[in-house]
């Protein structure tokens, strides 16, 4: 522990001399959280839709109105020939095209099945899936409505509600727990906290050491009797403090700007944030033992950040990943931390609920810290 105090004081002096470090550590994450928190919205509404109505009568207009009333679709234009219809989709002006055949009303009146063609641009899979489900559900509801009207007229119904009105034979009543309004922010913002914590800590820590290596001051330190532990801990503590303060700031932003309340225990949350912080510091240290220059450090840090963002379940659900990738995601510390964050913040999960994830994170933390401390030597090579 030789020299711990000296290193610590020096690190704070560096930070004092370069307050921009604090700007990047505190302000930028808040900015990122705000921007991403608002930008990432998976609820898809108002899909641009073009209508090619060859029927033009009451029934056709009702159908188009039903599409619009679902809020999923927004009619941006009506076309009157096949060429314009195709062009509207090909040019991207519309994502969905509804083509109503000329005999639509006639067939409905005659009690025959009428076919409505709905073309969907599949290039954006999320939008396409929403459009497809929306259109299918709409067709089903329209059909049911007609069926019910018919049942009414012949005084026959598959089932009736307590008031005696015809009703669906089976009623499924879904109830959304934890995020009843299905707000994207509730899902993304807690995850974003984990990603931002890792991003800032990883970069600050690896830079703090690699910069000294690049400037030659690390070599100068190696020639002194400073202890390995003193050097390491003295280097890490300031960034651990910055990381923790930043965690508090982003939590405040989450609660007061995004209105995502912390349902679980704050102490448990902060404790596990600390565990993750040490893991991120370990990753930063690991990068600093691998990189000789700050440029290399950036590249290594990105190498670690990419899977943390893409494979941890932050953006894409891990359940949807192919098996090998799914297994890889267990080696990413953020994976566990995201489960912990969402668990405590959204579901009021307790420590026993989260035990597997906490254990996973603890194992990652121990492994990364052990590896990086073992790799860090008071030697040049």
């Amino acid at each position: 522990m030789n020299g711990l105090w000296a290193i610590l004081l020096k690190e704070f002096a560096h930070i004092r001399r370069e307050p921009i470090t604090l700007f990047f550590a505190f302000f930028v994450p808040v900015l990122q959280l705000t921007i991403f928190g608002y930008a990432i919205n998976t609820t898809i509404d108002d899909i641009r839709t073009v209508v090619y109505d060859l029927d033009g009568r009451e029934a056709g207009r009702e159908l188009v109105a039903a599409f619009e009333n679902s809020r999923k679709f927004k009619v941006v234009g009506r076309v009157h020939d096949q060429g314009s219809f195709d062009y509207a989709l090909a040019s991207g002006r519309a994502k969905v095209g509804i083509k109503i055949p000329p005999d639509y009303s006639d067939r409905l009146l005659r009690g025959q099945q009428a076919t409505v063609q709905v073309l969907i641009d599949g290039s954006d899979s999320q939008v396409a899936t929403t459009a497809m489900n929306g259109a299918a559900l709409l067709g089903l509801m329209q059909s049911l409505g007609r069926g019910r009207a018919l049942a009414e007229s012949v005084q026959l119904a598959a089932a009736r509600d307590p008031a005696g009105r015809p009703a669906l034979p089976i009623e499924v009543r879904p109830r959304l727990l934890y995020n009843p309004d299905l707000k994207s922010a509730h899902f993304f913002v807690p995850g974003l906290i984990g990603i931002i914590m890792q991003l800032v800590t990883l970069f600050l820590t690896s830079f703090a050491i690699v910069r000294e290596r690049e400037l030659g001051t690390l070599e100068q330190l190696f020639v002194t009797p400073v202890g390995r532990a003193g050097l390491l801990i003295g280097k890490l503590i300031p960034y651990a403090i910055i990381g923790f303060v930043e965690t508090l700031i982003v939590l405040v932003v989450m609660v007061f700007i995004f209105g995502v309340p912390i349902r679980g225990e704050l102490v448990l949350l902060l404790g596990l944030c600390l565990l993750f912080l040490f893991t991120a510091l370990g990753l930063g240290l690991l990068v600093s033992t691998l990189a000789k220059t700050q440029l290399q450090a950036i590249q290594f840090a990105f190498l670690i950040m990419m899977p943390s963002i893409l494979l941890s379940g932050f953006v894409f659900p891990r359940e949807a990943m192919p098996a090998p990738i799914y297994w890889i995601s267990f080696a990413i510390p953020v994976t566990y931390f995201l489960e912990i964050l969402r668990g405590i913040i959204l579901r009021a999960a307790t420590l026993p609920d989260l035990l597997p994830h906490v254990m996973g994170l603890a194992v990652c933390c121990t492994a990364i810290l052990t590896l990086s401390i073992a790799r860090f030597r008071k030697q040049l090579d």
């Binding site: 020299g3 020096k10 002096a13 001399r17 001051t217 100068q220 020639v223 030697q379 090579d381």
Partner: protein, 321 residues
């Protein structure tokens, strides 16, 4: 003093070798440095000077052989060595964003000096190096010479017994260079052993001992005066002459063409030659192509540069064959 007695060498290298992959940076280098010596370590760029210093300071492991500083083995007792040595690297490696005083405070704390001791040492070092008036200034704002003084002051904060300096005068002006050497002499006078690498021959002449490393091997070491007497620098059947003549640059190739002239080098207004005894003065004057009255010859002792140039050529020939 712990360990060896006062006569024991302060630095010992015994067949010290360091490889980087397949590259041998230092090959079986052996020498000793006595207490309070100023040991000048010379050699071309990339010959392994810095590597030797780093191995002796305990930041690079030797690949073979043995090294010891103050009786401590460089491999097993590196931390014991680090308490008692100071090191000034080739490149300025203090914290540019800290002030002169903060840098000194930092190193004082690193060496575990008490607050009162740091204060006292700072005062002493301010007196020694004259950097006191710049104490509140940031290190990055200092000029090259003052940066070197600050680096020296930081390396001396814990009163080391041995000071390693890797090209301390590279890139600083002649006045600052002279002043830095005056400081080094003062330290040597206090019993500090100095190990200095340099490119400058005039600096080598000031050292009590010199070693010359060429292509990772130490080819000669000893006191400068002894090296100049070396048999293979000025072999028995040869003599060294200084030839003062007009247009020495033009004369040089003419002299080199004479059989029996083993070596000829330009030295300012003169040419230094190493010639066989079979070649007499008249032959050299004739070969110079100038009127005899304009040419003056006198016998000279070899300079250290002559020693090193002659020996590296011999070494290069020996390795080529």
């Amino acid at each position: 003093m712990t360990g060896p007695g006062a006569d024991a060498p302060v630095i010992e290298a015994d067949h010290l070798t360091r490889r980087f992959g397949h590259v041998v940076a230092v090959h079986e280098v052996s020498f000793t440095v006595p207490r309070a010596a100023i040991y000048g370590f010379l050699g071309p760029n990339g010959s392994g000077k810095s590597t030797v210093i780093r191995v002796l300071c305990g930041v690079l492991r030797p690949s073979g052989g043995r090294g010891a500083v103050l009786g401590h083995d460089v491999e097993r007792e590196a931390e014991a060595i680090k308490r008692r040595i100071g090191y000034m690297s080739q490149k300025f490696s203090l914290y540019a964003d800290l002030s002169v005083e903060e840098n000194l405070d930092f190193y004082g704390r690193i060496y575990g000096l008490s607050r009162a001791r740091v204060r006292q040492r700072k005062k002493e070092l301010f007196d020694l190096t004259g950097i006191g008036p710049f104490a509140p200034r940031l290190a990055r704002q200092l000029s090259g010479g003052w940066k070197q003084r600050l680096a020296l002051a930081c390396a001396l904060i814990h009163e080391p017994d041995v000071l390693f300096l890797d090209e301390p005068t590279a890139g600083i002006d002649p006045v600052a260079r002279r002043e830095l050497w005056d400081l080094l002499f003062a330290l040597s006078g206090r019993g500090v052993t100095l190990f200095v690498t340099t490119h400058y021959m005039d600096e080598a002449e000031r050292c009590t001992h010199v070693g010359y490393i060429y292509l990772s091997r130490l080819i000669v070491h000893g006191r400068p005066a002894d090296l100049k007497q070396l048999e293979n620098v000025t072999p028995a059947e040869t003599r060294r002459l200084e030839i003062i003549c007009p247009q020495p640059a033009v004369t040089l190739p003419r002299l080199r063409a004479v059989t029996g002239v083993r070596d000829a080098t330009l030295f300012g207004e003169a040419v230094h030659v190493l010639v066989d005894h079979t070649v007499d003065d008249a032959a050299l004057v004739a070969a110079s192509g100038h009127a005899p009255v304009t040419v003056a010859l006198r016998p000279i002792a070899p300079s250290l540069e002559d020693v090193f140039v002659t020996l590296s050529r011999q070494e290069a020939r020996r390795r080529a064959s």
